[in-house]
């Protein structure tokens, strides 16, 4: 039972480079989310997706791009990485069947460092 996985777990890149973080879930959940975790800010939503080919912005979307061609995958791309995007990134998914009851389940995270 793999659940929700993220790759890579650790990534170091340089300013200006494009980076893609991968997220894969085996539950066939409708909803998927990308968060970043920074000290003093908790978790902030970057993008989310209600289903394949349906995505929407969260609180901090600038500098990020997402796609969802398949239900199980939700990659996050930093088109031109900046130092301010150094963070820990978490992917989450939820069934999306009954909104109040819906529980999000999180992947293990990707620690990204932009030099």
């Amino acid at each position: 039972d793999a659940g929700i996985t993220q790759s890579p777990r650790y990534k170091i890149t340089e300013t200006g480079r494009q980076v893609t973080l991968m997220c894969h879930q085996t539950w066939s959940h409708s909803y998927m989310f990308w968060y970043r975790q920074d000290l003093g800010h908790g978790l902030r939503l970057i993008y989310y997706s209600a289903a394949a080919d349906i995505t929407d912005k969260g609180e901090v979307p600038d500098g990020y791009v997402v796609s969802r061609s398949k239900t199980e995958n939700f990659p996050l791309t930093l088109e031109s990485a900046t130092r301010s995007q150094t963070s820990v990134y978490f992917c989450a998914s939820s069934e999306g069947l009954a909104v109040p009851m819906d529980t999000q389940y999180f992947g293990p995270g990707t620690r990204l460092t932009v030099l």
Binding site: Y31, F33, Y35, G40, H41, G42, L43, R44, L45, Y48, A50, G58, F90, A92, S94, G96, V99, P100, M101, D102, T103, Q104, Y105, F106, G107, P108, G109
Partner: protein, 118 residues
């Protein structure tokens, strides 16, 4: 706009003592509240949630949370702390939409680090 506040950055408690991690909320409409725990270098794990009904919600690992509407609080509690409970705890509230309904998005607090001393 919906929000949650965790007023303590860190809580220290001795093993065997009761613990409380505080959370207050501000919502328009019904509050749907969650607690998650994050162990070092791990993702967030779901502990419990309040949707409706009993004000005392029981969750995983012996944790429970008390919903108090008059004080707009949802404090996490455990009768007897373990060293293994040491972790970062997040309170979250379901975000609302333009019409006052609930969405699938969550808004998280800034987290409280729980340190349990042996």
């Amino acid at each position: 706009a919906q929000s949650v506040a965790q007023p303590e950055d860190q809580v220290n408690v001795a093993e065997g003592n009761p613990l409380t991690v505080k959370c207050t909320y501000s919502v328009s409409g019904n509050p749907y509240l969650f607690w998650y725990v994050q162990y070092p270098n791990r993702g967030l794990q779901f502990l419990l949630k309040y949707i409706t009904g009993d004000n005392l919600v029981k969750g995983s690992y012996g944790f429970e949370a008390e919903f108090n509407k008059s004080q707009t609080s949802f404090h996490l509690k455990k009768p007897s702390a373990l060293v293994s409970d040491s972790a970062l705890y997040f309170c979250a509230v379901r975000d609302g939409d333009y019409y006052g309904g609930a969405t699938n998005k969550l808004i998280f607090g800034t987290g409280t680090l729980l340190a349990v001393q042996p």
